[in-house]
């Protein structure tokens, strides 16, 4: 079994809901994300919300599809694709927020998307924390993640917040660890 999926299973087995902070190296970033999504949608067969700040929806969807992930199980929220006037745009598969700075819209979109999904089991995949840091102040990001973590508890989801392992963000990641149930070091 792939390393990330194995680690996810090992550390979070028997847990129906959790908040995990996954730190990934730049080298394995894409591969690891795909493995985690595959584990959730294929092995656990649960639907979820994928919030992408790192790659545009179209790129992400084609990467996931080509890796054998059933993207029909996922609602995408894209905060990276620039929309006209940075306004909201909706397609059948994705809601385009327009800018990673619009944390209020990201929160509302996530809340609505998660609540629309069947409550038997669902996941939230937040990709990624460090992109958020490029557009927002560290304090704002910390508050947002704290808010997100408490929301994830209310939603009763399997929540994964991904972050690229960077020296500069270590302090924030350490700070955020307290909000999460587990920190996954995924190489």
């Amino acid at each position: 079994m792939a390393k990330a999926a194995g680690e996810l299973k090992k550390q979070l087995k028997n847990l129906k809901e959790y908040i995990a902070l996954a730190t990934v190296s730049a080298k394995n970033y894409q591969k690891t994300n795909i493995e985690m999504i595959k584990e959730l949608t294929e092995s656990e067969n649960i639907p979820g919300v994928y919030v992408t700040l790192s790659k545009p929806f179209k790129t992400m969807e084609s990467i996931l599809k080509s890796s054998g992930v059933d993207t029909r199980m996922i609602i995408f929220i894209d905060a990276v694709t620039q929309t006209a006037g940075a306004s909201l745009e909706k397609t059948d598969k994705c809601l385009f927020i327009g800018s990673p700075e619009k944390l209020s819209d990201i929160s509302v979109a996530m809340d609505q998307a998660v609540r629309a999904l069947p409550s038997a089991g669902r996941f939230v995949f937040f990709d990624s924390l460090n992109i958020l840091l490029l557009y927002n102040e560290a304090e704002t990001v910390a508050r947002f993640i704290h808010f997100l973590a408490s929301k994830m508890r209310v939603w009763k989801v399997r929540g994964i917040i991904v972050s690229l392992r960077k020296k500069e963000d270590k302090e924030l990641i350490d700070q955020l660890t307290q909000f999460c149930d587990v920190t996954l070091d995924l190489g």
Binding site: M73, I75, L88, L95, D105, Q112, L117, P118
Partner: protein, 149 residues
């Protein structure tokens, strides 16, 4: 328990405030005007606080800003209406003095219409029911396929 006591104290404070207004202002219509103005000011303060805490450029902030404008114009209407009662503009001045009040309430309703349209759009954009239905079907399909195997 402490929260319940706090709520009780707040309710008592509101009741005392209302009683004071009706005691000081003997004209009932003017008293009602003061009460609506006080609640309007409170609503405006809370909404301004909400606008400040929302992300710049977000749909939610735009909506709350429009809502704030509605509140401001309704408040202006209430102030104008109360002033007209206190100073007896209906009887002492020309009828034209009452028109700004009507203008305020008309503008408030026009902004309400625009805000409602904005809410309709937000409902469409932030609503994921259709996607959720498709996902449910996919899950069912997968379950059936698993059973067949």
């Amino acid at each position: 328990m402490a929260k319940k006591i706090l709520i009780l104290v707040e309710l008592l404070a509101i009741a005392a405030g209302l009683w004071a207004i009706f005691k000081i202002v003997t004209n009932t219509e003017a008293a009602v005007g003061f009460v609506t103005i006080s609640f309007g000011v409170l609503a405006v303060i809370w909404t301004v606080m909400a606008v400040k805490s929302l992300s710049p450029g977000s749909a939610l902030r735009k909506y709350v800003t429009n809502f704030l404008l509605c509140l401001v114009f309704i408040l202006l209407f209430s102030i104008w209406h109360t002033l007209s009662i206190i100073f007896g503009w209906r009887t002492t001045l020309k009828e034209a003095w009452l028109y700004p009040g009507y203008l305020f309430i008309t503008i408030a309703f026009l902004i309400f219409v625009a805000t409602s349209y904005q809410v309709l759009m937000m409902g469409r954009e932030f609503g994921f029911r259709q996607q959720a239905e498709s996902i449910k079907k996919v899950i069912e399909e997968k379950k059936k396929a698993k059973k067949k195997k």
